[in-house]
Symmetry: C2
Subunit: 228 residues, 2 copies
């Protein structure tokens, strides 16, 4: 559902342009786990932000379900994202003034679901990430990994068609990480959702249906697993 | 050089106390890599903060090189930390208004080293973590892993006797993580330093001289490697 044509992104540093991404041609296949793999600083977060419409490219086009994101003004893009996407960011995922429950509930407020239905959904997700007992806690009362699990629950709240997760299992022990991946795999089957992860975790790469290898802002290799 | 006697830490949540650590008796042996291993929420960050004097226990005593930290008032404790310890935090490591160079230089300003000596040391450390070309960048211009590498360089700046690192290789690809561990191992030999890491990274655990397994705020097992 996602196609990138000749996408480029640069950051200005004084007199110089840092090429964060160059000439990206990429197709994200639907209903699969796609993993962006590459060294620190290679451009994974930048690429995720462009796919998710969090940022706009300097060159090329990002097209999701036939919609060229460049045709949407900021309000329309924001609305498009809220309805179709779920995000786990690398930093600053949660609203510090809200509890874990309220953070996970937040995307559901935008969809018009009634309170009893929201409560049921949030409780289900918090249990799935092992944090039912932390529903009333605020982010500053949670460990690094616990915050990440709340962020993952929130990203899945509206059962979005496309979930973008930046290093979702960083700060998680392998046991919790495996449980999170299994949850996302279940979501992918139940809701026909697509997942795009950036990750350094070999456990995540092992679970990938497709792997996009990126280095110094260019794609070096794409591996598609064709069975199953 | 570090001994904990009956250390406990609780967090107050409304009417209830959350026991983050209970009955911790632990000896950190000098000049070794000690790894704190345990699931998300088990108490690793809390324990590191107590060892480093960033926080004070509710029960028990923390003794570093014979100094009971409870005998030091906040100013004396702050001074003790600045001279002897190096830290890599799980979050918010760097000062956003300073460049990578200035962030790494900062601890050296407190030791009275002259500018040419500071410059030499900072350049050496930035090269060692692979970020010589990012010396003039600010944290918001760096990727997650790049910020972490700057934080590691900063923790090593004053060649401290004790380095505490919370998840130092999270957000780093395995190649960069291995390079960072090798750098720390070199520091440990050259400067007779002790390293205490919390980590979920099997690569870090494999490098450990001693492993402290923690679960639900208690130590379940300590493994000392006695050869070499
Ligand atoms: N400021 C706080 N207020 C209340 N509870 C807290 C606070 N900080 C930590 N806790 C709780 O103490 C427990 C231990 O937290 P800690 O951050 O030490 O875990 P951790 O082992 O570092 O986890 P992770 O691997 O996820 O970083 C957790 O249950 C956490 O919710
Ligand atoms: N706001 C910015 N200003 C300037 N340069 C930036 C900015 N954001 C990112 N960069 C640069 O773009 C490059 C790619 O960064 P990006 O965050 O996409 O990497 P990454 O693959 O996610 O790395 P990591 O695995 O460390 O998170 C890096 O060289 C980084 O320094
Ligand atoms: Mg990143
Ligand atoms: Mg922690």
């Amino acid at each position: 559902p996602v196609v990138l044509h000749g996408v480029g992104k640069r950051y200005r540093l004084g007199q110089v342009d840092i090429p964060a991404l160059t000439g990206i041609d990429l197709e994200i296949h639907p209903n699969r786990f796609t993993v962006l793999s590459g060294p620190s600083g290679s451009g994974k977060t930048t690429l995720l932000n462009l796919i998710g419409g969090i940022d706009r490219p300097d060159d090329g086009r990002v097209v999701i379900d036939g919609q060229d994101l460049a045709q949407l003004d900021d309000d329309a893009l924001s609305d498009f994202r809220a309805r179709r996407l779920g995000f786990v960011f690398q930093n600053f995922n949660l609203l510090p003034v809200l509890t874990a429950f309220e953070n996970v509930e937040y995307p559901l407020l935008l969809t018009g679901a009634a309170k009893p239905e929201r409560r049921r959904r949030v409780d289900e997700l918090l249990s799935a990430v092992g944090l039912a007992d932390k529903a009333a806690s605020r982010p500053n009362q949670l460990s690094g990994g616990q915050r990440q699990r709340v962020a993952i629950a929130r990203a899945l709240a509206t059962s979005p068609r496309l979930v973008l997760a930046d290093e979702p299992t960083a700060n998680l022990d392998s046991h919790t990480g495996a449980a999170i991946l299994a949850l996302m795999r279940q979501m992918q089957r139940d809701y026909q959702a697509s997942f795009v992860f950036s990750s350094h975790d070999p456990q995540v790469l092992a679970q990938a249906d497709d792997a996009v290898h990126i280095r110094d802002g260019v794609i070096t290799r794409v591996v598609r697993n064709l069975q199953g």
